[in-house]
């Protein structure tokens, strides 16, 4: 069974928007949770980070495969390398942050406002890393035409 339409060069462009959407929403929910702390928001935040991190794994693997299937011009190679390095940083960052959010409540009471604020600030930094990675990926496509016919 073919996973992607034949006009798509690889799976990466199909899956790359999932972590962006899920983790952006997770950060927004983290902000809401600084001020409101009902249980359903807490659960929503955790699930968004879990799903966002898992989608990062899939996106990174598809990106690795994509990088070896294209032949970028030399002028794009540094951007491709930086995009790849940045993607690994984002992956490890959000995996670690998600793990902390799952484990920490077992040892510490985390419903204090200042802890929620720290969560949100950590998430904001992760989001800035994600935006940088996405910007480099967009540059590969729209500036250098990597992966386009």
């Amino acid at each position: 069974m073919q996973l992607a339409p034949e006009w798509v060069p690889n799976l990466h462009p199909l899956v790359v928007h999932f972590p962006i959407a899920l983790l952006s929403l997770a950060v927004a929910v983290s902000l809401v949770e600084v001020f409101y702390k009902p249980e359903w928001i807490n659960r929503s935040r955790l699930w968004l980070y879990i799903l966002g991190s898992l989608s990062l794994v899939v996106t990174l693997l598809s990106g690795r495969a994509a990088a070896d299937s294209v032949s970028p011009p030399f002028s794009a190679e540094m951007t491709l390398s930086n995009h790849s390095d940045s993607a690994y940083t984002v992956l490890w960052y959000f995996l670690a942050f998600t793990l902390i959010q799952l484990v920490l409540p077992r040892f510490v009471k985390v419903d204090k406002t200042w802890i929620r604020l720290v969560y949100f600030l950590i998430a904001c930094f992760g989001l800035s890393l994600l935006i940088t990675t996405g910007e480099l990926g967009a540059k590969l496509v729209y500036k250098y035409g990597v992966g386009t016919p």
Binding site: L31, V34, F35, A67, D68, S69, V70, S71, F74, S75, E77, M78, T79, L80, S81, N82, S84, D85, T113, L117, F120, L121, C124, F125, S128, L129, T132, L136, K139
Partner: protein, 240 residues
């Protein structure tokens, strides 16, 4: 939310500060890369000033093509970090209206490099192996014959790696399809910690390692036979 405006302001300040930090870090990286390229230019105009030779541009692609007499050409545009011109018997010939450089190699290692040092670099070499038997290495970040990075081809195998003080570390090795081989273009990319080898437009090897200090770009032969080179394209890779 309404009862805590100070908290909201604090959040906004921290987010903006983090974004600014990211930008300044990026700026510093660009400056470092520029210094490496500048160092390469200084080296070219300093240590090897006596050569009136093809100098690799630190800003744009340089396409080297053979011209003149073989021995003069090799002496003018390159210098040897291993072996000498007599080991490769360079001759400039005309083929299909284009000049090509034919090397007849002996078994001993020979390596000739451009006079400039380059940092992050893309290299494309168009060559024909003919009856050549052995290994051809496209070398870069070369300090000397004992310390360099390379993409090599031997028969139908491409290998990518580095040699430091004579100790070899292989990043990646793969076989490729060499049916109907005539002229081939080997492309090498050394971008930060990512190293790639292409045959034509097809990626064959991809390895990772620490970024090395700027070094020479050239060709190393470890084999016997006739090897013909049509062009060498060298592109400095700039960080964005």
């Amino acid at each position: 939310m309404n009862n805590n405006p100070f908290g909201f302001l604090l959040i906004l300040i921290v987010v903006l500060s983090l974004a600014a930090c990211g930008q300044s870090e990026k700026g510093a990286k660009e400056t470092d890369d520029a210094k490496v390229q500048a160092a390469g230019q200084e080296e070219a105009s300093g240590d090897h000033e006596h050569h009136a030779a093809t100098a690799l541009s630190a800003e744009e692609t340089t396409i080297w093509k053979p011209s003149g007499e073989g021995a003069d050409l090799i002496g003018r545009d390159f210098h040897f970090i291993s072996g000498s011109a007599t080991q490769i018997s360079p001759v400039v010939m005309s083929e299909d209206g284009q000049n090509v450089l034919q090397l007849t190699t002996s078994e001993e290692q020979a390596a000739f490099v451009f006079h400039n040092k380059m940092g992050n670099v893309g290299i494309a070499v168009t060559l024909q192996r003919g009856d050549y038997k052995g290994t051809i290495k496209i070398i870069h970040h070369a300090q000397n014959a004992q310390t360099y990075e390379y993409v090599s081809i031997n028969n139908d195998t491409m290998t990518q790696g580095r040699v430091i003080d004579g100790v070899e570390e292989v990043f990646d090795t793969k076989n490729f399809d060499k049916e109907n081989e005539d002229w081939i273009t080997i492309r090498v990319s050394a971008a930060g910690t990512h190293f790639k080898g292409y045959l034509g437009d097809k990626n064959i090897t991809h390895g990772h390692g620490d970024e090395m200090e700027a070094g020479y770009v050239g060709i190393m032969t470890e084999g016997v036979g006739k090897l013909t080179i049509k062009s060498i394209e060298v592109t400095p890779l700039e960080a964005e």
